[in-house]
Structures are given as C-alpha cells and as structure tokens.
Amino acid sequence: MIPTPAAAAATVRRGLAITLVALLGLAGVYVLAQVYTPTEVRQGLAQKIFYIHAPAAWAALMAFALVGIVSGLYLWLREPRLDLFAAASAEVGLAFSAVMLTTGPLWGKPVWGTWWTWDARLTLTLFLFFLFVGYLALRSALSEPAERARFSAVVGILGLVLVPFVHLSVYLFRTLHPAPVLLKPSAPSMPPVMLRTLLISIGVFTLLYIGFVTTRYGLAVLAEARRGPDGD
C-alpha cells in the first residue's frame, strides 16, 4: 500500500532534516579528529583517515546487509515499499562505498607503502562496490515495477550470501600469500581517546545513512504515489 503523496513528501522532508543534522555532525567529527585527537606516532597524520574510512565501511556494509535482508522480505511479503527501500539502501550504499574506495588507498599508500593490497578488507570493499553497481544497473534496465522488484530482490539476496564467500576465499588466499605489510594499521587496543572519536564518527555515519535512506526512500515512494495505481 503506497502512502499518499503528502505523506511521502513529509518523509522526504524528515529525511532531509536528519541528513542536515548528520552532516553537521560530520563537520563536528572532522574537528574532533583533527583538533582533539592525538596523532598516532608511527603512522602520522594519515592515520586519521581511519576515523572516516572505517565508519564509511560500516555504513556501506550495513546498507548492503539491509538490501539483502529487505530483498528477502520483499520476495516473501511482496510489499512494494520493501523493494523501494532496498533500492534506496543500494544507492546510499554506493555513495558510502565510493568513500571507502577512495579513502582506503589514500590511507594505504602512506601507511602500507602501496595504494592497494588484495587483503580481505579492501577486496571486500571492491566487491560491495561492484555488487551495488550491478544491482542498480539491473534496476535501471528494467521498467516494469513488479518485475524490477522481483529481479532486484534475487540479486540482493544472492549478493548478500556471496559476501562471506568472498571474505573466506581472500582470507584463505592471504594465509598462503601474506601481503607485504610495512606498518600495521591501528591495533584493536586503541587508546580511549581515539576509540571515542571512532565511536562518535560511527554514530554520525549511521545517522547519515538513516538520513540519506529516508530521503531516498521518500523520493521513491513519492514518485510511486504520484503515478497512481494505473501508472501514468
């Protein structure tokens, strides 16, 4: 049941408001990371990229998981709004993946000496990006809404199941062919002040995801509501 255009427009406005708050939070994180967080001695200032890269990865992964899970729900319940949400999450996930893919090498070059390594994490980054692109490409090639929803859902589910296999394959590969590592990135035992910055950043990115997805979902529902049951 698609809501009325007025309700959908309200969703869009709410989403934009959350996004604005989150972007302000992002600015705050920038300041926090630059000014109030100490510089890591061995890695230098480049280590601070971590406070952006890791939360972006978290958001992309969350977006992807939701695409898969909501796709499954759609195939089960056949509620069109679930499909619209999955598509919104995919687009937002693509944005966060782009952040991951750009900040990753920018962090890797100064810290590990190489722009790219085929380790489990970076490879997964690349995969999420390709899966998002494939999902959205397929959607744009299908015009009939019900067919598009079903097909996207299949890709979403298969993609979600693929991720652990990619991780496992790369992990197995890496244990046999360890990548050359000059310096290890921040170890899990982080000083509390760095951990605090990281956690705040993760919170802000999560809020940003919610804002983006709400807006994008609202826009999709608005378009559907406008079109009406007969589609014009």
Binding site: T19, R42, G44, L45, A95, V99, L106, T215
Partner: protein
C-alpha cells in the same frame, strides 16, 4: 623515543576533502531531487 613520525598530512587532507565532496554532493543531489519533486505538486494538495 627514536620513532620518526612520517609527514603525510597531504593524504589525510585529500581523504577528508574527497569524503566531504562525495557525501555533501550526494546530499545536495537528494535535496535537488526533492525540490523538483515537491515543486511539481504543492504540499497539502493532491
């Protein structure tokens, strides 16, 4: 003690800028799409 901290601020600045461009850019694109959509139908009307 004897550890020399590498001077790599350039990478950090680049990463922070690119991130801001991508995320703010996406937010702006959403906002523009929202404006185009809600201008077509005045709020409250149907």
């Amino acid at each position: 003690m004897g550890i020399e901290t590498p001077q790599n601020a350039g990478y950090m600045v680049a990463a922070y800028i690119v991130t801001a461009v991508i995320l703010v850019g996406y937010a702006l694109s959403l906002w523009r799409r929202a404006r185009a959509a809600t201008r077509a139908v005045p709020p409250g009307a149907e």
